[in-house]
């Protein structure tokens, strides 16, 4: 639903229940043609959020409508059909007025009166209407009436009351609140609850009954005034109450495939020794049977070790997808052998295809070896470094040892190992590098050598999006080795890169230091890629650039110079209207910051200023001097525009920039962001962490989004709620984060921690209440 058109024309109306009177659905068509019918997706603010295709089958469409043009962001249209000839399509407010007039005079069923009263909250006493509807149903079927009262009217109300009053926000309690049962008999209402609910109220049934007081007036409409609590002691309740007590799980499991995989695993250490630090190395017979026999649970980390051969790649892909299916995080280390020429009979296209499939499934795929490394023993890569071999098996061995170090580091309570597996932390393609040195300055030299080793492979580690660094040192090595190592890597990394560092001490190494890097960046074909010829001018102006190939991004280049760095979209047409600007900027990923839009010819100042308001810098290859000027403090220029523009324009223009920046904060789990899971889905626990790392920035939406004030001191204040669409779809309730932010010349910052509101806002038609 995120890719529909930005505007559409009203085409007709359809009544999905096919009786009258009833609410109807406005149908739209794309502007400029297309036969698809579209329906509005309406945001909580009552505005059009998107248009989605709808198939109406054999239903009759009433085409007697004005072809009103409706844009995303405008108030939605609502429709009602009174009879065969009379339809109305208008805003919610105007329809409400009309329905009020209509329901006062017309002969309506009590159920329709109740529906109208819910649509128009000022329509009157809904409890009395509920009673009339019950009596109406009762005439036809006492059983239907009783079930309707219990299951459709009282039970959802009781659940909502219970959820809002729960003293404990534990997962078990929230899930159990959704699981309550309700039966009414005569004047009594019996609420069946499971153990976690009683426990949440400290077994105080009076307290629990008090929590239900908001539904007493509604129950009163059915002459029910006695409430009773009973404990449901069924199996499901026990399941909800029970805490899964898991045996200790390995921190990471190695799955060696074929001889190369096994030699890498055994080079790292004997499996019984590995197990003591939390690394499980599967024996070849289990690994060869692949998934069914492998003990895997959600959240487990797996590393598959394999050669770059078609059969093993296919096996690894099958295994990885099975592990993903079980909620595990698999990664793969592929040893690419050095062949001066392809071996006879090899099918390199099949291998590549399987490699791509593996890369899609696994969290990351590290590639060792290739034409540039081969089996050569390299001479010192860096002055002072140990003359280190750079053969695939040597690197593979140290990479596995590095994970061993990471496992030990995690046991010491430092960086959690799954950081190195997080999807939001970097692209799929990874290369390792190994360096070692002794004596004074060993850390610095080893880092240098590790970078040189990785560089000899297929990716320039300086451009990596995320780096997992593993420091393995002897007990007499420099005592501040950890800090030194971290400082040095961070000084080389681009500022938005994620760096995790793991350290372990092996006394036998004495004053020697090993540094192993796992750099995640973009795939090897970026090396052979050449941009269009005139992009070379970027280099003349001191900019470095590389191709941007991140999944789902429509940017072309990444450029950087000194501290400045931007994603670039290369645009081969002119922008002249606001609608064109909106269209192009709405699809730009801005979680890294302002984006440069590279035109063939620089647009005029009005268009440039409008773009700035969206967080977009207009540039052209012939006027890179303007880009140079802006790049020193890009936000300063943007803030200047924000301070001057109309409030409505600021909100409209900044929505993408703010949303993407907030999503970045969530991704990176900045200290100011408090994210915790306290919401139940329909019945299942909602694993919010996974949703965040697997969510693309454009899947968030700001609802509401408000401008709180501007300046003095060149500051713009915003607040609102960020909602995560795919998580909401899965969860069936709001997944929302309240935010208060400021944007100034230096960037976007949180004025107070972002708060997860998921459990505090209810789905339905109630407006979101902000209590920040």
């Amino acid at each position: 639903v995120t890719t529909g058109p930005k505007a559409a024309s009203l085409h007709g109306l359809v009544n999905p229940v096919d009786v009258t009177p009833a609410f109807a659905i406005p149908l739209f068509q794309r502007e400029g043609g297309g036969n698809d019918l579209l329906a509005q997706i309406i945001g909580r603010d009552g505005r059009v959020e998107n248009f989605t295709p709808i198939e109406i089958g054999l239903y009759q469409v009433n085409h007697d409508v004005e072809p009103v043009r409706l844009e995303v962001g405008q108030p939605a249209l609502w429709a009602f059909q009174w009879d065969a000839a009379r339809w109305l399509v208008t805003t919610r407010e105007a329809l409400s007025d009309e329905l009020l007039r209509f329901s006062a005079s017309a002969d309506l069923t009590p159920l329709l009166r109740l529906a109208i009263a819910r649509f128009v909250p000022r329509a009157g006493d809904t409890d009395a209407l509920v009673r009339k509807a019950f009596e109406h149903l009762f005439q036809y079927s006492p059983e239907s009436a009783a079930l309707w009262r219990d299951l459709i009217i009282l039970l959802p109300a009781a659940r909502a009351a219970l959820r809002s009053e729960l003293p404990s926000r534990s997962r078990a309690a929230l899930r159990a609140a959704d699981d309550v049962t309700l039966v009414c008999e005569g004047p009594s209402l019996r609420l069946g609850v499971s153990r976690p609910i009683l426990a949440a109220f400290d077994d105080d049934r009076q307290h629990l009954l008090a929590a239900l007081s908001p539904i007493r007036p509604l129950a009163g409409a059915f002459d029910i005034d006695r409430f009773e609590i009973v404990e449901n002691s069924d199996r499901r309740a026990r399941e909800l109450a029970s805490d899964p007590s898991d045996a200790p799980r390995p921190l990471v499991t190695l799955v060696p495939l074929s001889r190369i995989g096994r030699s890498m695993a055994t080079a790292a250490g004997h499996h019984s020794r590995l197990r003591t630090v939390g690394i499980e190395s599967l024996s070849p017979d289990i690994a060869s049977k692949l998934s069914p026999d492998i003990d895997a649970r959600a959240g487990d980390l797996f590393i598959i070790l394999l050669p770059d051969e078609a059969d093993e790649l296919a096996d690894a892909e099958r295994l990885a997808s099975s592990l993903v299916g079980r909620g595990c995080l698999p990664a793969a280390i592929v040893v690419r052998s050095y062949h001066p020429a392809p071996p006879p009979g090899s099918d390199s296209a099949a291998s590549e295809r399987r490699f791509d499939q593996l890369a899609r499934t696994a969290r990351w795929v590290a590639v060792i070896g290739g034409p540039q490394t081969g089996g050569h023993a390299l001479q010192p890569l860096v002055d002072g470094a140990d003359p280190s071999r750079n053969s695939p098996t040597h690197i593979g061995k140290w990479l596995v040892r590095a994970f061993l170090a990471a496992a030990q580091d995690q046991q010491a309570g430092r960086e959690p190992l799954d950081l190195a597996f997080k999807r939001g932390r970097g692209p799929k393609f990874a290369v390792p590098g190994v360096g070692s040195a002794t004596g004074r300055g060993a850390v610095r030299t080893a880092v240098e050598a590790a970078y040189a080793s990785a560089r000899a492979s297929l990716l320039d580690p300086e451009t990596a999006r995320s780096i997992a660094a593993f420091l393995i040192r002897g007990h007499t090595a420099e005592s501040d080795a950890r800090q030194q190592c971290l400082d040095q890597i961070k000084s080389r990394a681009r500022h938005e890169s994620a760096v995790s560092l793991y350290e372990t001490v092996l006394p036998t190494l004495k004053n020697r230091v090993y540094v192993v890097l796992l750099a995640r960046g973009f795939s090897s074909d970026s090396i052979s890629w050449t941009p269009r010829a005139d992009m070379g001018k970027l280099r003349d102006h001191g900019w470095s650039y590389t191709r941007l190939r991140e999944q789902g991004e429509n940017l072309d280049l990444e450029i950087w110079k000194d501290a400045a760095e931007f994603g670039v979209m290369d645009l081969d047409r002119r922008l002249t209207t606001t609608a064109e600007i909106e269209e192009i900027t709405s699809g730009m990923p801005m979680y890294r910051g302002p984006v440069v839009l590279m035109f063939e010819q620089l647009p005029d100042i009005k268009i440039r200023n409008q773009l700035l308001l969206h967080g977009v810098i207009a540039a052209s290859i012939d006027r890179l001097d303007l880009l140079d000027n802006l790049s020193r403090q890009p936000l300063r220029t943007i803030v200047s525009r924000l301070l001057r523009a109309k409030a409505g324009d600021v909100l409209k223009a900044m929505a993408v920039f703010v949303r993407d920046q907030l999503m970045r904060l969530l991704w990176q789990e900045e200290p100011g962001v408090s994210v915790w899971d306290q919401s139940p889905t329909r019945d299942e626990t909602f694993e919010i962490e996974g949703w965040l790392t697997e969510t693309e920035p454009f899947e968030g939406r700001l609802e509401p989004f408000e401008l709180d004030g501007r300046g003095p001191g060149r500051v713009v204040f915003f607040s609102g709620v960020l909602r995560i669409t795919p998580a909401e779809t899965k969860a069936g309730y709001p997944v929302a984060f309240g935010f208060k932010i400021a944007i100034d010349d230096h960037g976007l910052r949180l004025r107070e921690p972002m708060r997860f509101l998921g459990a505090e806002v209810q789905s339905g038609d109630t407006q979101l209440k902000l209590d920040l």
Partner: protein, 246 residues
């Protein structure tokens, strides 16, 4: 699957229709098979086991109108004699290649067919979900003992446990039953969940005559079609609990 012991108990069968289709059923009192393009125009009646799922009606990712005002008919577990075919998922979605990413391209729909009886669904539930409650909640078991060469069973397990962004919904594991027989509503149906706008006097009277419990839900145009699916799942689950099915 066929060798696995069935789960205990039973669940009703469901049929989700739009208002037009439902009105036709009420008028005749019969739920009839209709020609199905997926099976060469063979007249078939589609039901789901337990869950109020509705069929994917095309390869396009659009919502059908029945997603906007769905009517869910709940049929007695013994309301269907013997099914013609039973699949562990929506066969329309399979044919529309909605599961293509999880399935090997050479796998055929027929390879996934269960024995055409009402024990097949319970065996599948026991193997992949453990029990009816987990099946209804779409909470598959993460660890299932599948023999190494049972690729279809393995693919199905991957499909139903896959949590990455695949655009599937619960239909990937809603068990589908196909019948060639017409069903007499007065003997086969026990309840219907329907939009309150549809619950006119005439409809309520007809349902009462057919001995079908009416459960009208709050129908006003909601913000998005998915809202209805969630609401109906909850109502049907609560109904099953009340009746002792869950």
């Amino acid at each position: 699957v066929n060798q696995h012991p069935p789960a205990e108990g039973e669940l009703p069968l469901t049929h989700v229709a739009d208002g037009l289709g439902f009105r036709g059923m009420l008028e005749t009192g019969v739920l009839r098979p209709e020609p199905c393009p997926v099976f060469d125009g063979e007249p078939l009646l589609y039901l789901f086991y337990g869950r109020p799922a509705y069929r994917v009606n095309s390869q396009r990712l659009s919502s059908a109108i029945d997603a906007y005002a769905p009517v869910c008919l709940i049929l007695r577990p013994d309301g269907l004699g013997s099914p013609k075919r039973v699949f562990p998922f929506d066969s329309g979605a399979f044919s529309g290649e909605r599961f293509a990413e999880a399935m090997h391209r050479k796998m055929l729909l027929e390879d996934f067919a269960l024995d055409p009886d009402l024990e097949g669904p319970l065996k599948l539930i026991a193997l992949f979900f453990g029990d009816r409650d987990r099946y209804y909640r779409n909470a598959p078991l993460q660890q299932v003992a599948i023999p190494p060469l049972s690729f279809e069973a393995l693919s199905y397990h991957i499909l139903i446990t896959s949590r990455h962004e695949n655009g599937f919904d619960e239909r990937i594991s809603a068990i589908e039953l196909q019948s060639q027989d017409s069903l007499d509503l007065s003997t086969a149906a026990e309840a219907v969940v329907l939009p309150d706008g549809f619950a006119t006097d005439e409809v309520l009277q007809r349902l009462a005559a057919l001995h079908i419990t009416a459960l009208p839900y709050d129908y006003i145009p909601r913000l998005r079609p998915e809202s209805y699916t969630g609401a109906i799942y909850t109502i049907v689950r609560d109904y099953y609990r009340r009746r002792g099915y869950l």
